[in-house]
């Protein structure tokens, strides 16, 4: 379940990768009920790209884990940033309705180092 990476073959170019994972599910820590959502990851790679199969398995690791919406999106962002150290990254989680209310969480990272 650890995130893997591969070398970016175009490190000198600022290009963007968007990955959509509509099959995300975790468990609400308060009610024990499953939550369902779509995770969208957008990033500009520096030296490393995220390997998609390991990302799929990493996200499947949340399947039986108790964690809040707001928390999970920020943890995914932190884990991805640690793994591939991108120039910029955004993680969005769009969750299905509960009690007639739906949520979307958006969290961003920007590498502040001089380039």
């Amino acid at each position: 379940m650890s995130l893997e990476t591969f070398p970016n073959q175009f490190p000198g170019r600022e290009y963007e990768i968007e990955i959509v994972c509509p099959e995300f599910t975790a468990v609400c820590p308060k009610t024990g009920q499953p939550d369902f959502g779509t995770i969208t990851i957008t990033y500009v790679p520096a030296d490393l790209c995220v390997e998609l199969k390991s990302l799929k398995l990493y996200l499947q690791g949340y399947r039986n884990r108790g964690i809040y919406y707001e928390h999970s999106i920020n943890v995914i962002l932190d884990d991805l940033v640690a793994a591939c150290q991108p120039r910029r990254m955004t993680v969005v989680g769009q969750f299905t309705p509960r009690g007639g209310i739906s949520s979307r969480i958006t969290s961003r990272f920007e590498d502040a180092r001089p380039r």
Copy 2:
């Protein structure tokens, strides 16, 4: 019906939470007829997040209350800002047609304190 909050675990990060509530209903104070609309709340939390179940109950509190569209959106914004003191917040109300005319009200708050 009071709004509850929980501590934001990522207070140092500027991330965004969007909440969509398509089941809002209140009563028109002039005609006594029910109004129906979708409330969309978008905010950047500071130290507190809005707890969703209390938000649902808070919005249900408008069910038999006589209040104008324009007023309700601004009151919801004021109550939410008072409860969770966000960095920024927007409340949008999209109301269903009356007499062939539909309305959308958008109201915003921005914390002016230096950071």
Copy 3:
């Protein structure tokens, strides 16, 4: 809140009237939470048509009434049949999701008397 009717000016013709009411709301008798749905009524009038304003007020009468989905659709059908004695009538209720599950109830009436 009583249903009113007006004379059908074309009683000899079998024509169909469909009425869509997307602003139906009642209260769940078990949880006390509001339910939201769209009621669609389709009928072939005999001697009477349903008056729309009284229908709107009749449906608003469910606003604070505790009743199950399945029950409400059948009661609405019975009340409308009693009021306007149509040749045929269908009532459909499409309810918004609860716990990730949405429901649609469809109930029909057909006048069995020889014509």
Copy 4:
């Protein structure tokens, strides 16, 4: 504003003509307010086809006329049947919402004469 026709060049073939008029408007006789709707006419011609420009002008004739939904659809059907004597014809009126309720009226004619 009288409906005109032209000879059907394929009277021996049972083919269908559908005409959609999304710009129908009349006046409610009770409230004096304008109603708006889409009229859809479907028919199998016998010896005559409806001329479209005269149909447009005929429907514009309802613009300042007080008439109920249910009535107008049946009158349009009667007028069209009288003008072109089709084998079969259906007129559908889909009206925009009033008080949160929308209506669709469907009326049909079938030539019962032996063929």
Copy 5:
């Protein structure tokens, strides 16, 4: 048919009101044929809000009036600005196709006075 207003209860806040009127109709002064369109009004109120029922009646006043598309949108903007003196206002008219060509006219007002 005169536009009415009511006091804005939140004059110190810059919030936005959008009103959509899909049932606008006027008469082409050149051909005498009816035009159909959707009028969308967006504004930031200063001390006054537009009263919706008077707006509906005001727009109905164009029903039998001969006026060009381009003209009507600018006249509506001028009349609304005169009535409620908003901080900013936009009026958009989206008209249905004529001769296979459809048009959208967008006109804006901004209060230039120092605030």
Copy 6:
């Protein structure tokens, strides 16, 4: 511009071919203005299939030809039936709006010979 065919390799099987041609244009014989529409042809082949490139050229042959909607659909049906002698065929023409009114013509052929 003549329609070509090729042998149906599965003449013993009743299978269906649907062809959609959204780029049909002809000229109105009354006004001289171009008409635009989508032609949809559905048929069950007997011994011959319609060759698509010759069909495209055949339909382009209407580009500068004056012909009514209702007529063109029936002529296309006759020409296609003569060329490929299908078991069954339907031709539908959906035309773009003129004067706010759009039309759809549907014409059918069925081989009545015993099989």
Copy 7:
């Protein structure tokens, strides 16, 4: 996780209940990977209706269970028929793509006893 029922208050009427559950997930027994799908249940109740909360928990029971698509739909049908003995029931499972291929399974039950 056992399915519960409640008495049908209108057993003499043939009415239909449709339930849509878009959050179904199980595990592929061959690959160990999670599958995702939408389960749609449509039935005509006899003496019993399916209780929705127990249905939600019953379907959650598949979350960590290894079972094929085709199998799960038929097992759900068998379990629901055993629990509520409906007059008729259909279960449809629409599964998300795997390897560029998506599947939908539809299984039906009809009570053959004379009525």
Copy 8:
């Protein structure tokens, strides 16, 4: 590239399996250009179900094969019927436009043996 099957666990029940393959591509034998389409297979299994991974590989076998639309759909139907001997099967191919014209081919099999 041979089609594989697995035993149907519910052979006594008439249930339906629909498989959608939007990534079908073959080569036009006349022009050498690639064709693209979506293949939809619907069948009622008898004793055998089609294994999806082998189906994917089987359809990939058309990637560099010169074959006409109409032919390929009928060959796929024949191959699938031979492999799994279903009670009924339909294969539909919806192909992307060429020269402004798109095609859909639908072919059906029904087992005529007494049951």
Copy 9:
């Protein structure tokens, strides 16, 4: 086929006119085949507005004219700018697919004169 104009009654106001013409067709000079597209014209008028009927006839003038996509959009822009001398104008042509590839051309004019 010459473009006509009429005086802009609100020359002091910067407002926008968008005109959509979905029935544009020309002939490819290389293949002789017809091309089809939608032309969208957006402009801010100065002293003159484009008269729509003459625009329709002007665009019909391309019907049998051999011209490339990229060329036609720029020629239309030049002709319209010469005719009405707008403050700003954009012409967009969205063309239907050829060989599985579709194109959109966007060309802009801005009056550089001091105002």
Copy 10:
């Protein structure tokens, strides 16, 4: 399979060309399975435009070539920039889901030379 160009007839004007190619397919170098995607190319031409037929053939050259998503988009950008030396160009590849995850790659070029 080499990219061809033709002279831009409006080199002094900054206008934009967008080309959408929904039928792109290549082979995954790791699994040997085909990938499918839509390539969208947007550019402002300098002295040369890309000839569309050669572009189609160039993209068909990827059909049996093993290359990663991320790589192919950047190679296409490099090849197109080398061929037509545009002022600016963006290439976007939207790929169909694999393992429930879909990707979009966006790469950009800007001519840095003084103009």
